[in-house]
């Protein structure tokens, strides 16, 4: 009897493993890889009726149009600023919460606060946006009621129609929604810290507050850095659903000069105005910047000892 070749033997053992993998691979191919090919529309004048094959070639026309359009600087500015604001406020907030929760002795209180804080994460932005709109509304918005009762303002403010307040509202909503859930990882990292470190510190005379900064924070630095790398790589993804909901699905044009970021722009121009190729070009531009940022941020972090890969 001829010995089976190693390959045949392997396949005989593994065939149903591959069977389990194939459906996933196929689905990823259709819904993740095929659209990647779709970026070719960015270089065409895509025509719905002609499809990919027959739409005329446009080269870099759309890219040049985007870079020279009056919108370009506004959108890039908004995208970068919103991301930076999120980095400065939304990023540290869960860390601060984890540090605070770590100081709580009573387990029951800690658990209750944690459960409560996780709730907004599980709600859709429609609901969170609904709450924000309700709290800020001119008639019966709790914020306006509070401010008027404290005599800080005389008349209700129409918060969502003022450009000056938009970024603040956006960031505050983001923090409200995710601070609890995002703190889970940091809290877990903190719980992995060796208690002896704290003991020796308090023998040396450091109080809890000091310990927080000298022991807890440095010990979870690796985790913080990894997430910061990811956050920087995400700068171009400044926001989408949240901005859409807070600007009435993009209809509210009053604050558009501060609210429009790349993703909302692509949505409006591409889906609502049906300028497919142009929107695809903008989207591709964004993806490329994303990848570059991720690689760049990782390189910087690698020098300080942490790396994503």
């Amino acid at each position: 009897m001829r010995l089976q070749s190693p390959l045949k033997k392997r396949l005989k053992r593994e065939w149903d493993i591959h069977l389990m993998i194939i459906p996933g691979v196929l689905l990823l191919f259709v819904f993740n890889y095929l659209p990647m090919y779709g970026v070719v529309t960015a270089f065409q004048d895509y025509n719905l009726f002609k499809g990919f094959a027959d739409s005329p070639w446009a080269g870099t026309k759309h890219f040049r149009m985007f870079f020279h359009s009056p919108d370009f600087w506004t959108i890039m500015r908004n995208t970068v600023i919103v991301s930076l604001l999120k980095l400065v406020f939304s990023f540290p907030a869960p860390i601060a919460l984890a540090l605070l929760l770590n100081e709580v002795g009573k387990a029951a209180f800690k658990r209750v606060i944690q459960t409560v804080s996780y709730l907004p994460h599980f709600l859709s932005w429609v609901i969170v946006g609904g709450f924000v709109i309700s709290m800020l509304s001119v008639d019966n918005g709790s914020i306006n009621i509070l401010l008027m009762k404290l005599h800080l303002i005389d008349e209700p403010i129409n918060w969502l129609s003022e450009s000056n307040y938009f970024w603040g509202i956006l960031i505050a909503s983001n923090v409200w929604k995710d601070i609890g859930f995002a703190s889970i990882v940091y809290l877990a990292a903190i719980s992995g810290i060796d208690p002896h470190l704290y003991e020796s510190a308090s023998i040396d005379g450091a109080n809890r507050f000091r310990q927080m900064f000298s022991i807890t924070l440095p010990s979870i630095m690796p985790v913080i850095v990894i997430f910061m790398i990811l956050a920087i790589g995400n700068v171009m993804n400044a926001g989408f659903e949240d901005i859409l909901i807070l600007t009435n699905n993009g209809v509210n044009a009053i604050v558009r000069n501060v609210s429009d970021v790349i993703d909302t722009y692509v949505y409006r121009i591409g889906i609502q105005n049906q300028r497919f190729s142009y929107a695809a070009a903008v989207g591709l531009f964004k993806s490329v910047i994303n990848v570059l940022l991720l690689i760049g941020a990782n390189r910087i972090a690698r020098r300080s000892g942490q790396s994503l890969w």
């Binding site: 392997r10 396949l11 149903d16 493993i17 591959h18 389990m20 993998i21 459906p23 691979v25 689905l27 990823l28 259709v30 819904f31 890889y33 990647m36 090919y37 779709g38 970026v39 529309t41 895509y46 100081e103 709580v104 209750v112 606060i113 944690q114 409560v116 804080s117 907004p120 599980f122 709600l123 859709s124 932005w125 429609v126 609901i127 609904g130 709450f131 309700s134 019966n140 709790s142 009621i145 859930f181 990882v185 877990a188 990292a189 308090s202 109080n207 507050f209 909901i245 699905n249 993703d263 692509v266 591409g270 889906i271 497919f276 929107a279 695809a280 989207g283 964004k286 993806s287 990848v291």
Partner: protein, 301 residues
């Protein structure tokens, strides 16, 4: 008991105060929404409704449960969650199990193939065009099929499967079980927590996702409740619903002089609460699982 210095005591008090404030700020919008939903709409428009209803009414909820559109939307959402979660968790876990066998043929290419999709995607427009070409637009299935495989979830499954003791699967194999058989009969029963966590995350995603339907579907009876909710909030759908219900009379005081109990604001609040109830009721019970799931996903992934 270690004696705390007075500085430390103040610190402790501050910590507790801050956390309690956080709890209040998190819960207040809910409470306010509940109060508004139980308050007569026209009365709310006069302001100052914060902690307790002034003119109690159940009419908002009555309208929510009676309007055909909302009932349909609720059904669509439930169907979507049930079918979408089951299919997605099954397929993703199968893929993950397969990829947990690091020694198989083509392992490295498979992994790269999957991970690459996490970093680079075609974008919104190409996906839109693709779904159109596949005739998925304006069907129920566009809500489910494109999102069936989540590479992020797959990694969480995979990490968990790899941590399972080899002995478990070895004994099944010796008994003549196929790989698929091992997966179904041994691995799945043992993996309760990770399945529960990812089922929860997937279900929450399906329940909350309003955007997919917003761009791919215009048939009103195919919209899930989150999309209807978005329309209520962002457009005049609420007013329209009121008009249909009250026979075109949407003024503050109707013909008989009774105070209008349902306005677009009070209706929005009631709908929002009904839409979020399922999640609010379920997630505390699964807290143990998803806390673990987040860790496995973030630290290992």
């Amino acid at each position: 008991m270690i004696k705390l210095s007075s500085g430390e005591k103040i610190f402790q008090v501050c910590v507790y105060i801050l956390l309690i404030l956080l709890g209040i700020v998190t819960l207040y919008p809910f409470w306010n929404a509940i109060v508004i939903s139980f308050n007569a709409g026209a009365d709310t428009a006069r302001g100052d409704i914060t902690l307790w209803p002034r003119v109690f009414t159940l009419d908002n909820y009555q309208l929510v449960f009676e309007d055909g559109r909302l009932t349909y939307a609720f059904l669509i959402s439930v169907l979507r969650v049930l079918i979408g979660t089951t299919l997605s968790v099954s397929l993703t876990s199968m893929l993950a199990y397969g990829l947990s066998k690091t020694k198989i043929l083509l392992f490295k290419p498979y992994m790269f193939y999957c991970i690459f999709t996490m970093f680079f995607s075609g974008g919104l427009i190409p996906s839109f065009v693709l779904n159109k070409e596949l005739h998925l637009n304006n069907t129920f299935w566009v809500l489910i099929i494109p999102s069936l495989i989540s590479v992020y979830n797959m990694i969480i499954f995979r990490t968990f499967f790899r941590e399972l003791p080899d002995g478990l699967e070895e004994s099944a194999r010796i008994d003549g079980c196929t790989n698929i058989g091992t997966f179904v009969r041994i691995v799945i029963p043992v993996s309760g927590p990770v399945f529960a966590t990812l089922a929860l995350f997937t279900a929450v995603y399906h329940w909350n996702d309003w955007f997919t339907a917003a761009i791919y579907i215009n048939k009103m009876n195919l919209l899930p409740i989150s999309s209807i909710l978005q329309q209520i909030l962002n457009s005049n759908l609420a007013t329209e619903m009121l008009a249909t219900q009250t026979g075109g009379n949407a003024s503050a005081i109707d013909a008989v002089g009774k105070l209008q109990t349902v306005t677009s604001k009070s209706l929005s609040m009631a709908t929002m609460l009904v839409a979020s109830m399922p999640i609010i009721l379920i997630y505390p019970f699964l807290q143990k699982y998803f806390v673990k799931g987040v860790l496995v996903g973030s630290i290992k992934g």
